[in-house]
Subunit: 259 residues, 2 copies
Amino acid sequence: MKSSERPLILVTNDDGIFAPGIRVLVEEMMAFGQVLVVAPDKPQSAMGHAITIHNFLRLRKVDFMDGVEAYSSTGTPVDCVKLAVYHLIKGRPALLVSGINHGSNLSINILYSGTMSAAVEGALEGIPSIGFSLMEYGIDASFEHTREVVRRVTRNVLGNGLKKGVCLNVNMPAASTGPIKGIRVCRQSLGSWEDAVETRMDPSGHAYHWLKGDFKSTDAGEDTDVWATSHGYASVVPVQFDMTDHGQLAAIKAWDHAL
Amino acid sequence: MKSSERPLILVTNDDGIFAPGIRVLVEEMMAFGQVLVVAPDKPQSAMGHAITIHNFLRLRKVDFMDGVEAYSSTGTPVDCVKLAVYHLIKGRPALLVSGINHGSNLSINILYSGTMSAAVEGALEGIPSIGFSLMEYGIDASFEHTREVVRRVTRNVLGNGLKKGVCLNVNMPAASTGPIKGIRVCRQSLGSWEDAVETRMDPSGHAYHWLKGDFKSTDAGEDTDVWATSHGYASVVPVQFDMTDHGQLAAIKAWDHAL
């Protein structure tokens, strides 16, 4: 098969182009097609769906891996998708994959996640898109046990396609919890964060603040991503971008709206 | 009524604490309760649901308006909500309002919008929350014609409450299109951006890139926010944060998931 006949696969992440997780993802994608990497030049975790409109962006070609064209960008994960689609490719890739994130993106964390926002941006562009996350934060996390899940989900998406406007949120348990038992298709759990603000004093005596928090899994349903991953499975959540609460339309229409 | 008996209303935005829109919103909120302002110290448009985890935050008390306690923050709109709830208030306000944004947040733009992400963060925290946006970008935009809509929606939310986890996305036509005809409760339209990247050369001969784009309203339904606002109405969309595509669960469960 000539290189030009292979499907083009766009790879990005939010931990930055030098994170180990993106290398594993690129290695796996090379079996499926021609790989283009466009990823942030520094960690961009928790950037959500941010895009850069008050500043310009730089793109730098980087030496990444044999046979892979790769660029680092000064922007967010969503910026990387836009730069790839509208500047580098000038068209849609056959597939967009984001990750493998160092850390989970379960439940409502999809809203904060740069990894998943890149996948949602792919869905907005009509590109079949998948975000992969490993439930382990460290730079030295082991990704070997995730490879078969990555391959299996990718093969299914390329083979079956995804409904337009839908992407997948895939979370995989850490290696320390044993081999992954299988894949479960789930709904997003509806937990919440119990946050805190830690205030410190700088050497000049001025206060500064760190956000911190603990995720509370208050939605224990066996059909959720939190349940699946805490029971040894990889979770796959189909994600869409209509945030309307259709069930609330009637109640709010009944209000008094006279001006 | 003593000040301590009045409901506490948290006001934030994404255009920064010095934008005219937030002043109009605070003026209106003072009729409903005790107002606390926590807003970014600089424009944070298009920051989406970004939060600051790799850096600390500063909070600075600012002279804003008689009778209003106000702080600027170095963070994003969502950071402002977290700083208010977990550091300044150490509890939930009775209401969170965000805006009035200089520029529309219709359709899928809720994903990119700092204004609406602050409201969604409020919903995640169980706070009745409303994002207000004016469909005019300029610093000298007129907000006078929006005051009655702001009052009416606020009165309804305080009087009727909102289902837990739901916030409202309110968009209001520009003054130039005439008086606002009324309020319509809508679903989020499903348009998309036709983006472009404009590449320029710096004086040293290195390329830099600006994102730009045009919103394409490809979803013309009369039940949408785009239809309502383009026909002279203010739109109110109830917004929730479950991004699961429940309709796709069965199709994806039918894939071959064997590992």
